[in-house]
Every structure is written in C-alpha cells, then in structure tokens.
Subunit: 554 residues, 2 copies
C-alpha cells in the first residue's frame, strides 16, 4: 500500500456519503414528470413517472424492512429488465442491504452456489421465473423468504416455494415514505458473480461509492442528459446492465425497460426503439446483429441518428457497426469492461477531433478498438514478468486495471491473490496494445493466445479473418498442445450450409495477414460453437474436447 | 450529525483517493496532443499541448518542493488567466499543499489579511503584478519567498520584493518527472476567501474530493467533451474560474487562456472565441454584455451555435441572452452558485424536453431562472423560523444548500456558526422559490428584500422592471428605514443621458407588476452605482449612504 499523505483539513462537506439512492431521489425531485416506459408480462407496454417510481421505491424499502431486511443483509432478484427490477435497484441498496444479481442463465447448481455463498436470505422472483426458483430452492437452503412478484392476484398463484409471500400484497399496505439511512459509502451496494469459464463463480461486491463514481463517469463519457431516452437491453442481473440504469437516472433520462424478451424477439426491441425514439441502448453484438437484420427488412429505415448503441462483451463486427450507421445513422460505440470493472474501463465514443487526416476506412478501423480509458481509471500493459511495456502501439501485454470502481479482491475467497491482482491492479486476463495517442486495443484473451514455437498468435485476429469467408457462420481458434511447437492453432467453424470449408480456402483468407508458420494445420467443422451462459465463446470446452488432437504424451 | 450505517464491505478499490492531479495526468496520457492556447504578455497568442503542460506541471512541482513546500503548506498565486496559472493549478495541490486564490481586485490591506490568515508562506506573482505585490508585501509578513514569473530574463527584472526568486530559472533546472503523493482526498486543495460585503473575508477551503466530484458533475451537466474548446474568462483567482479549468481537463477539451485583459478588451475575447471556435466559456453579465455589443458591430456575425456561455454572478438580462442567440446562435446558460459552493448549485442547461407547450416568451422567461439543482446537491427553502416551505412555485424562503462540494464551516473562524449553517446546510442568504417541476428561481438577497409593512418586496424584481426604461443604464433598489412602514423601497439609478427620470415614469413601469403599496416614493439619480471588487452591486454602501433618508429616529 502506498502511504496516504494528509494536507490541511478542508471546509467542504467531506463527510457527505455517496449513496446511490440519492440519485433517484434527486431525479424524482427535479424531474418528477420524466417517464419510465416498461413492457408488461402480457407483451404490452405501459409507463409511469419518476415520481411514481420513487413512491413505489419507498414502499418497497418499507416492504423489505418489514421482512426483516437490514444493513448488510443480502437480497437476491430473479427477474427480467422489468419495472419492479428497476424499483428494487434503488430500494434494496437504499436500506443498506446488498442487492444480489442472479443470473437466470446459470445452472441451478451454480446459481445455488452463488446464492449460498453470498448468504442471501431473501429472494424476489418474478412469477414467470417460478419454475427456475423451484429448481433453485433445494440448492439455496439459506433463503428464508421467497417474494413472488406478479401483476396477477396472489390468490391465483401457487408459488410452490417454502415461505413464499406476495410482493404486491405487501406493497399495497406499505407507506410511500421511507427515511433512507445514511450509508457508509464503502458499503456493498450489490453483488455480481463472475461467470468465468474457470472454476466457481467469484463474488464482486460493488460499493455505493464505486457505483456513484462510475455513474458520473459514464454519464459524462456518453454525454447523457434529460433529452435522452435510454433502453436497457443488457440484463440487469449481470453487471447491473453495465451501469446504465444508474447513469440514466443520474442524467434524468427517459428509461425504457423491455422486460422479458427472447433472442427471437428482436422486433420488440427495434419497434420500441423506434416508437420511443431511443437515443441510448446497450447490448452485445449477439443482440445488435439480429436487430440490424430486422431493420434491414423494414420498408423504410428509421432515422436513429441520435442513437448511441453501447456495444460490449465482444468486439462488434465492423459490418454491423457500418450497417447501423449507413442504414439508420445510429452510432455503435464499442465499450470495454468486465464484471470486475463495474464495467466501464474504456469507451470509443467519437473519434478524437485531432485525428483529422484519417480515411473513411481508417476511421472505421479505429472505431473497432476498445477506445480511450475512462477518466478515473488507470491502465497498464505488462509482459509475462510483470514489467511495464511501452504505449507504442506495438508492444502487447496483459492489461492491468485500477480505479475506484475496479475490484481489488474477491468476496470471501482465499485463493492466491497474485493470480488475479498485482499492486492493487486487477489482472484482466486480456492481452492489449496501447497506442501513443491513448487508444487501447485488446488483442486476445491471455489464455486464448496460441503460443507456437515461442511466439504468440492472436486467436481473435485469426477468427476475424476466418469469418470473412462467405460460408462461415461463426469461428473459433484455439491453441492445441503440440509435441514439437508447444501449441498449434486449430480452427473450429460452423458454416451456413453445413458443408465443410477446405483448409486451402482458410489459408487463402489468412495469407495476407499471417506468416506462413502461423497458418493452422487443421480445420474442424461443427454444428455450433459452445458458448457460456452470457453468450461468449466457451473455449474451455473446446480446448478440453480437442486436447489430444496432436497426441501429445502427457 | 446523522448516524452513518455500515453495510457489508465491498470488493471495490474504495481506498482509491480522489486526487485532482490525476485528472491532468489522465488527460496527458490519453490526449497528449490536445491543445492549450494562451495569450502572452505582449498580447500575442501561443499554444502548447497537454503533454507539454504536464511536463511543465511536474517541473513546477519539483520547483515547489525545492522551495521547501510540502503537505499542508499554503502557496498563493497573483496572476491572470495565464499558462503558468494553469500549470500551478495542478502542481500546487499535487504536492499536497494548498493553492491560495488571491483576488487582484482586493485592497492591499484585505489581500494582506487573506494572505496572513491562510498562513501562505510562498507567493508566485506575475511580473505585471509586481507593483501590487510590493503594496501587498508589508501586509503579508508571513510570506517567506516571492517567486517572480515572467518570460523575460531574470537579469532584466527588479522584483523589489524581499527574498525573491525567479520561476523560469528554477524551472529550467527542474526535472520533468514528479512522483505525485497519494493525498487523503479530504485534504484542502485550494483556498478562496469570500469577498462578501459584510465583515472580513472568510476562508473556504475546497477539498480534493469536493473538487473532483464537482468537476465530474459539471462535465456531465454541460455535456463537455474533447470536441469542446473551453475559454476561461472568469478569473482563476476567484472560485477557481467556477471549476471550468478542471472540468475542461476532465473532458480533455481544448483550453483557451486569455491572460491579462481589461474590461475594454472585449474584442480580445470575441476575436479569440471566433478564431479558436470556442464552444464553452464562462463569465458574468458584465463581461458578456460588452462582448455582445462588440459582436453587433461586426460586418458579419459569426456562427457560435455550438457555444454554451455559462453566465453567473448575477442574473443575465433577457435582452443579452436573446441577443446572443439571435445574432450568433450561442446559448447563454444561467448557472448559480457562490464561493462557498465551488460553485455549481443549479444550472439552466436546456429546457426540459417535457415542457413542450411553452410559448417563445415562456421559454425565454424560464431560461432566466437559476435552473435545476445539479445532481449531488440538495436544496431546501425555509421561512424565517427555519421551517421547510413547499416547492410550489409560490412560497419564497431562504435557500439552504448541502452536498459534497458545499462548505460546511469557514476556515479558522469562530463566529456563530448558526448564522451561516443549519443542520449541515449552508445558508445562502438568497431568497428563492422552487417550482413543482424542480426549477429554482432566486428572488432576492435576504438582506436586500425590502420589508415594508410586514410584507416583502423583491428588490431584484423591481430593478429588472426599472432598467426596462429606455434611458436607464443601471438601477438598484434598496430598503430604507421608515418610521411608519419599517422600510420603504428607494430606487437608485444612472441614466444614459445624465438626466433625471420622473417618479411617475417609474410608477408607470412598475404598475402592472407591483401593488400600489409596493411602489417607491423616491427615485435618486446617481452617476454610477457602487460595485464590489467582483462587480456586484454594493448595496451595503448604498444603504449606509441613504440610511437617514426618511429620518428615522434611532
């Protein structure tokens, strides 16, 4: 730890604690008439105001208190991006309890592990997710109360859960005034568990302070204001929808909550975007890609030229970014982060005004990279020995990240901290280059880099080249152990027509970009690539399956 | 004090200290090529980059350390909005010392009081201000080192001050690398003394934390970004130019420093605004008014439609706001605050998108008010007994303000705190109304309200009505003690032609807006109204001069 130097005392209100619930209170006071638009369980849309929401948030806090929830208790939510989920975002942390973000896509055993590890004693569950809750319950014996949320009368619902109560029944009797405690700003606000492909989920516990600062930084970086309409597409149960619920409220923007939607419900999102004139939305390429495809089927493309689509999780394909812009004027903004980083680390919001001499292609190429570090965040790249590498746009090293909203340990976990943290920096596990002008480009996952003959081959670069083949639907490149070269790259791909792609055609695609020794020796066609619960390529599974391809003697 | 409740510990980097100097370091790393344009002492213009500035900032920190400056020391600056002043903004607080903002317009005795009360041991002074420094020196015996700043060789300068050294000579020998300490964020960053019209100047000591949060809030509220060009017109020695130097750097905007300019140098500011395509600037109506007058003399009005002109200190006249917009497209944004508030409390940046039914006149009328409270700031209005008043747009009460960048006491001052603070809120001394939709309107200074026959008359409303007279150049309304009515309003005015304005014409102007009992009985023509060192009407002087007008027996 660095020593902290103390200067003269200030006369500022430095004891003022940064508490997230003050954000919704402020918004309700200064913009009571601002709208929150939400999708109902029957697929319709409804709306209410910040003032209405704030009244219900205070009711919800009273409901929680009535259920015995107090400071340092953990309260879980099993819900879509719904109106009640939005209300609980403020109510739970406002009581000094911790909001546990419960990932619907985890297996019951894993979600049970998360629920038990966090010590959650109360879980609120949307009626539509009661089957999942019933599967979860045996794996989460510490939950003493299940709270069922529904628009329907409780008399019509059979929870099938032990100790179940009904949220709206309790709300109907709760006061709409709640005297928020002043919470030590370093207290946990919410907990989100990583869904990493290695080992058990690890707990990241965000503080009120970290969330508050992240909120301000995001609002400033995206230039959000009360003339924005913000649609939350990224699940609110995963990395708090990338902090957008909070920055939307900070900015007093109109909020659009699409509720429950499946991957095939792309039209729901697009139609809402057009109807509500959405100007800010977030999502992974796996969401925005189909949205673009749907937009292309419309008779007339809408004008979305005010829209900034925050796109993360994986690098957005260039064709998708250009497609949105050319069809609708919408700006796809690549942002980078992780569960451990709240998540804003870098954002590529607009090309620097000083970069005036770029060609159109160069500008698009620049927009693909992760962008500039957000103010408040410190980044470094280091080699395998932990030594700093220059920001010259050439050196590639592991990306280390530090800042007030970056995690510096995992909750209640005793594993070797050095594997994940160095000098207060979080080890991202990503390999990156930083250019002299500050732009950061992630080259690969450290564990996905193919180490062949003492050199590194970027699996992502090779994947991007392979998917350019017209018949390739998706591709992954993994390093497979090899008796002579340590590892060799192997291409796994799925095709649109189900036919094989010859190795020679892959070599043709890669020839201009890769050295001859880097070219793969093997191409394997599969029906679909394995993915994790959050839709990322699951290379751990692939590596296990093809570990013995080159018959290394272990 | 409210009890602070503690929840679960978080895993965030909550021990990360908000230190202002990290903002310029971040900007220099992510936007090294961004420009800082500055006016030189000979009236020319020059420019360098964030990277250049950051190197010199590190040199300056080494110079200060070499002069024995360390944590909790106080270092004063006597300078215009210059390049070196900008550098010292980061260098002094970066060493954990306190930057004392020295108001050039104070009398030597008052500035001596400020210097001595703060305990400043080192003062940096621009060569052009050596005469002022020499006048100050006898009143500031605690200053052990005077540092002379000039572009000229030191051999050509006779400081005429005890223990004088030359800044650029020391800079030339200083390393451009400095290992910034991590500073406890509640430490004082800078000190600014109020220039209130009552009593001695009072010390407001801003913290690193408060400044950092204010910076983020301002950048978000004004939607500043690296595509902005920010000109600092408000003096950097008064309320740190309203926080704009910091928010400009936070946003990585281009910065324009106009250096030394006199009131008659309006063309310098306007020409720079056009040449550098300024998009954000700050200043009082006393600056922007003459700038508009100069713009009106140009053959062709420039397009300033991206410009947001932050206007404070007093309410900007409607004619000036409309004039800027109609001539150039520039948006004059009324912002409200004080030395004690860093200063952003409210800002009127754009009319709420929900207010769609307003007429053109209603929109302009709304733009005149102080606007909406900035996120993070809490406001209340209270009656004389301290009871909360409703936000109904009718009730008028004293405005109380609280938040992380609002002062909660004065530095080293033992006067009765209740006179200036209540329950952690700062008493602004302003009388305000808050509308149900959140907009705040300052009606008057509490001490300037005319209390007549048990009722209040707003002196500001009356002044605004009087200046609508075509021959009135400026006007003030004061309450003068009266044997029957407690106080009666008296109008003081200066005319453009030097001739009197009959009382009947004033009554005609006021008739539609004021009740008959509110109409003044006396109009007094003066050559010019007395003003304070920061250009505000000095009603204290006026009240003293006309105290016996109605011959109250005391």
């Amino acid at each position: 730890m660095t020593d902290i130097v103390r200067g003269l005392p200030s006369t500022h209100g430095d004891s003022f604690q940064l508490n997230t619930t003050t954000l919704i209170r402020h918004a309700a006071r200064t913009f009571p008439e601002q709208q929150i638009v939400y999708r109902t369980p029957d697929g319709g849309w409804d709306r209410y105001t910040y003032a209405d929401a704030y009244a219900r948030i205070q009711q919800a806090a009273n409901v929680l208190t009535g259920l015995g929830v107090g400071p340092a208790d953990v309260v879980g939510i099993l819900d879509w991006n719904s109106k009640r989920h939005f209300e609980l975002y403020w109510a739970i942390p406002g009581t000094a309890a911790v909001m546990l973000q419960m990932n619907l896509r985890l297996a019951p055993e894993d979600l049970g592990y998360v629920t038990t590890h966090s010590g959650a004693s109360v879980v609120l569950v949307d009626e539509s997710l009661l089957p999942a809750a019933r599967e979860l319950a045996p794996h989460a014996p510490g939950v003493r109360t299940w709270v069922v949320m529904s628009d329907r009368p409780s008399s019509e619902i059979d929870p099938g859960l032990p100790n179940a109560v009904f949220f709206e029944d309790l709300m109907a009797e709760a006061s709409a005034e709640y005297d928020w405690p002043v919470i030590d700003e370093t207290s946990a606000y919410s907990a989100c568990y990583t869904t990493g492909t290695t080992g058990r989920p690890k707990g990241v516990y965000y503080s009120h302070r970290g969330i508050y600062l992240h909120t301000m930084a995001q609002a400033a970086a995206v230039k959000m204001g009360s003339d924005d309409t913000v649609m939350l597409i990224t699940p609110m149960f995963h990395g708090q929808s990338w902090g957008l619920p909070q920055s939307a409220v900070y900015s007093q923007a109109k909020v659009v909550l699409p509720g429950r939607y499946a991957a095939e419900d792309t039209s729901v999102l697009v139609d809402a975007m057009i109807a509500e004139q959405v100007t800010v939305a977030n999502g992974a390429p796996a969401i925005f890609g189909p949205m673009l495809a749907y937009l292309e089927t419309l008779d007339e493309a809408p004008d979305l030229s005010r829209a900034r689509l925050l796109c993360g999780a994986t690098e957005p394909p260039l064709s998708m970014m250009r497609g949105f812009f050319e069809l609708t004027g919408a700006d796809v903004i690549h942002a980078y982060g992780a569960t451990e980083t709240t998540p804003f680390v870098t954002v590529n919001a607009g090309i620097k005004p000083t970069l005036t001499g770029l060609s159109d292609d160069q500008r698009w190429d620049l927009k693909r990279c992760q962008g500039l570090p957000v103010n408040g965040i410190e980044v470094r790249i280091v080699d395998a020995a932990g030594a700093d590498l220059p920001h010259d746009g050439v050196a590639e090293g592991e990306l280390l990240i530090r800042g007030p909203w970056i995690t510096e340990r995992y909750h209640d976990l005793d594993d070797a901290p050095g594997e994940r943290f160095i000098d207060g920096f979080w080890r991202s596990g990503d390999v990156a280059t930083i250019y002299p002008n500050g732009y950061l480009k992630v080259v690969d996952r450290l564990k996905d880099v193919v180490k062949s003959g003492g050199e590194w081959i970027s699996s992502i670069d090779m994947e991007n080249a392979v998917v350019a083949h017209p018949r390739v639907a998706e591709a992954a490149v993994i390093g497979v152990a090899h008796p002579k070269w340590q590892e060799r790259p192997v291409v796994l791909l799925a095709t649109v027509d189900g036919d094989d792609v010859p190795l020679s055609e892959i070599h043709d695609l890669l020839a201009t970009r890769f050295a001859k020794w880097q070219l793969p020796d093997t191409v394997i066609r599969v029906d679909a690539l394995p993915r994790t619960s959050v839709g990322k390529l699951d290379k751990k599974v692939m590596r296990v399956e093809y570990a013995d391809l080159y018959q290394v003697v272990r």
